[in-house]
């Protein structure tokens, strides 16, 4: 059975001019990265802009790319730094955007699209997203990095620029709060 080409190999191929390799890479990571950025800024319009910026930065940086770590770590670190810079320039904290960022009507629209038997499940999912949005930014980021990029504590620490203990603590608090929130609702 043929092994799938690694992200790092695809990136190296793209660096050598293989645009098809980039398409594969993009297909693998576009969803996770988009949701990561969306959870960081909440606002879809900002998320679109930041998402595009990150990929453009990656394209621009392709000639300097070297395999020093997992491609995923490199990509998400680039995204993390770009989001931090973006909101620093906007003089807006990420936390300020959280409040009311997910519109109540958006959640209501999601619920109305579901069949009746799936409504309860969708309500639970929406509750989870609300709980996630209510988490401190760092804890939410740690949780999303694990869920979307499959990262462990060490990689989360590397992306967010903190030591592993801090990253572990953030993730632990995030998981505990989310579970507690879901249980109290149940």
């Amino acid at each position: 059975m043929e092994q799938p080409v690694s992200d790092e190999d695809l990136m190296l191929r793209y660096r050598q001019g293989d645009a098809a390799a980039f398409a594969d890479l993009y297909e693998r990571h576009k969803g996770g990265l988009y949701r990561y950025i969306l959870r960081k800024c909440i606002n879809h319009a900002h998320a679109d802009e930041l998402f595009q910026d990150v990929w453009v930065k990656l394209i621009a940086a392709k000639d300097r790319y070297e395999v020093r770590a997992r491609f995923t770590t490199w990509l998400y670190r680039m995204a993390h730094n770009h989001c931090v810079d973006y909101y620093r320039r906007q003089s807006t904290t990420i936390g300020n955007l959280q409040a009311g960022a997910i519109a109540a009507d958006e959640l209501a629209a999601r619920q109305s699209d579901q069949p009746e038997d799936g409504v309860e499940r969708q309500q639970q999912a929406d509750r989870l997203l609300q709980l996630l949005d209510g988490l401190p930014d760092e804890q939410r980021e740690a949780f999303v990095l694990h869920e979307e990029a499959g990262m462990g504590v060490a990689e989360i620490a590397e992306v967010t620029g903190v030591n592993p203990e801090t990253a572990k603590s953030r993730l632990r608090y995030a998981v505990r709060k989310l579970r507690q929130g879901l249980q109290s609702d149940g």
């Binding site: 001019g17 993009y26 988009y34 990929w55 453009v56 499940r121 999912a125 694990h146 869920e147 879901l182």
Partner: protein, 284 residues
């Protein structure tokens, strides 16, 4: 205590497939809009270059087969080039080193010298080429030369060599210099001093045996033809040296195995019946 419980819960969560993860992935299915996909992919293609989509995929698909084919072509070309070079070397070796085609008897001392020199030369040639293939070294010299211009060239060179030798012999006769005892011995000496081209000699010289190279019962017999030899046998017989006559006749029959026996009987004394002494001799 609480931390231990949290750590355990965290470890279970990090192992994956937790209820929390399933709920998250069920809830979070946002994807980038299509126009963003198109814009980003277009930017990537543009950055990769105008032929980026075709060339890499072509090279990915055909790169390895093409590399393999190139290696095979180069190897075959090298083998052909080496073979051609060797053929050229063997068939157009230095004229001086070409030995005479005077027939040799197997086991002759000078023939052995030539053969060993030939072997050394082939080995040296192979070493010089860096050849490690014993098969090639063994095959090339033993193959008969192809009937082509090279053979004609070689034949011409041999003829010219013979002409030179005859001329030299005539000059030596005129000057009173005694001719060489044995032409093969002379050529052997030449070959020992010069780089030989022995393979051609082995290929072109027919392993004929002449009575000149066969020792007679009374020692080396040189300069005789068949009738002279038979006369000598007759003389030995008539002088009472019957054993020597029979031995000489046996040698004669080895040298001339196809000599008609009825003709032979005519030239021998009537009381000498070779069938009595030599096995397989049929007077009819």
């Amino acid at each position: 205590m609480v931390d231990d419980k949290d750590d355990q819960a965290l470890n279970e969560y990090l192992q994956g497939d937790s209820n929390l993860s399933r709920q998250y992935h069920a809830a979070s299915k946002d994807t980038p809009p299509k126009h963003l996909d198109d814009a980003i992919l277009a930017a990537a293609r543009k950055s990769a270059g105008p032929h980026s989509r075709l060339l890499p995929s072509f090279m990915q698909q055909w790169g390895r087969p093409l590399k393999f084919a190139a290696v095979v072509v180069i190897c075959v070309s090298l083998v052909i080039a080496i073979y051609d070079d060797e053929g050229h070397l063997l068939l157009t070796g230095p004229e001086k080193s070409l030995p005479d085609t005077t027939p040799l008897q197997p086991g002759d001392k000078s023939d052995q010298t030539l053969s060993s020199q030939a072997g050394e030369f082939i080995e040296q040639s192979n070493k010089d080429r860096g050849s490690t293939s014993e098969g090639q070294a063994a095959v090339v010299p033993s193959e008969p030369p192809p009937v082509d211009d090279s053979e004609k060239t070689a034949g011409k060179m041999i003829w010219e060599k013979k002409k030179q030798t005859d001329t030299r012999d005539a000059l030596q006769k005129e000057q009173g210099v005694p001719p060489a005892k044995n032409r093969i011995e002379e050529e052997s000496l030449d070959l020992m001093q010069e780089k030989p081209a022995p393979v051609l000699k082995r290929e072109l010289s027919t392993p004929m045996i002449t009575e000149q190279d066969v020792p007679s019962a009374s020692g080396l017999v040189t300069g005789r033809n068949d009738s002279e030899w038979l006369t000598e046998i007759s003389r030995l017989w008539q002088s009472g040296n019957t054993d020597q006559a029979v031995a000489s006749l046996e040698k004669f029959l080895q040298v001339y195995p196809d000599y008609p026996h009825d003709e032979l009987l005519k030239q021998l004394p009537e009381d000498f019946n070779p069938a009595e002494y030599i096995e397989g001799f049929d007077p009819d």
